[in-house]
Symmetry: C2
Subunit: 150 residues, 2 copies
């Protein structure tokens, strides 16, 4: 039994990427684990001004924040989309940022109770899931071979 109440708001998640990778990642996650509530993607296009990117990220944060705050997953740090994400740390709402987004982070959203965590805790969890998911195929197939030989 979860400590959270179904009427509690979930932490919102915004995926910010150079180009359309964020939409593709959310769509892929949706086809694998089903639609993920309170998630949105922002594409930063080459022709967008920095102010436009900030405005799009801000709008997405507003869309998905139902009172529990937001975790922003961004593709790389140090770029202008990342700087736009940093602009969300202005105190308007509780926001945490995770850099280096990959699909396993989004899949995790299907099984974690986003009512039961703070944005910082969800961000740490997604960071750890993302890092652990990055493995060599040979490490994994070695494991599979080991399991099959038992």
């Amino acid at each position: 039994m979860s400590a959270s109440d179904d009427s509690d708001p979930v932490i919102g998640v915004v995926v910010v990427t150079h180009g359309g990778a964020g939409q593709c990642l959310l769509h892929a996650a949706g086809t694998i684990v089903g639609p993920l509530e309170a998630t949105e993607a922002v594409s930063a296009e080459m022709e967008d001004s920095f102010e436009e990117v900030i405005r799009h990220v801000e709008q997405a944060c507003t869309d998905v924040d139902h009172g529990a705050g937001v975790v922003i997953l961004v593709d790389i740090h140090g770029s202008s989309p990342f700087q736009a994400c940093l602009a969300m740390l202005d105190g308007t709402r509780t926001v945490e940022i995770v850099c280096g987004v990959n699909l396993p982070m989004l899949l995790k959203l299907a099984t974690v109770d986003r009512r039961d965590l703070r944005p910082y805790e969800l961000a740490e969890l997604l960071r750890d899931v993302g890092r652990r998911s990055i493995r060599l195929g040979s490490e994994l197939t070695g494991k599979i071979a080991l399991q099959e030989s038992r």
Copy 2:
């Protein structure tokens, strides 16, 4: 001075994802660091049969392999696209697989000499770069604040 010769073939890189994320990632990398030679993306769509995904991955490997082997970057392990990647380990060519692809791995391809490594070495390098890139914004901004205060 590099130990490799400019006429040596580079290791090919294939990005395999559920849906179009791979194309988006390669396009994003291209706009940030310029076009990356000997790279190709494969979209595994819901309606594709397993045999079709294998055929597409195989074709992409053939396209980018100029004699130095291939590193396949796949979005998640355990899925049917990942299984299709495993089918490439049939001895036709030297192939290594890295799961959990993210943009920093692709950006690294712009600065690493792919003539000077074996596929296994490149895969380990990209795994490490990918893992290290996954950071909390608060860790990074703390660093920035520390650097600025010096």
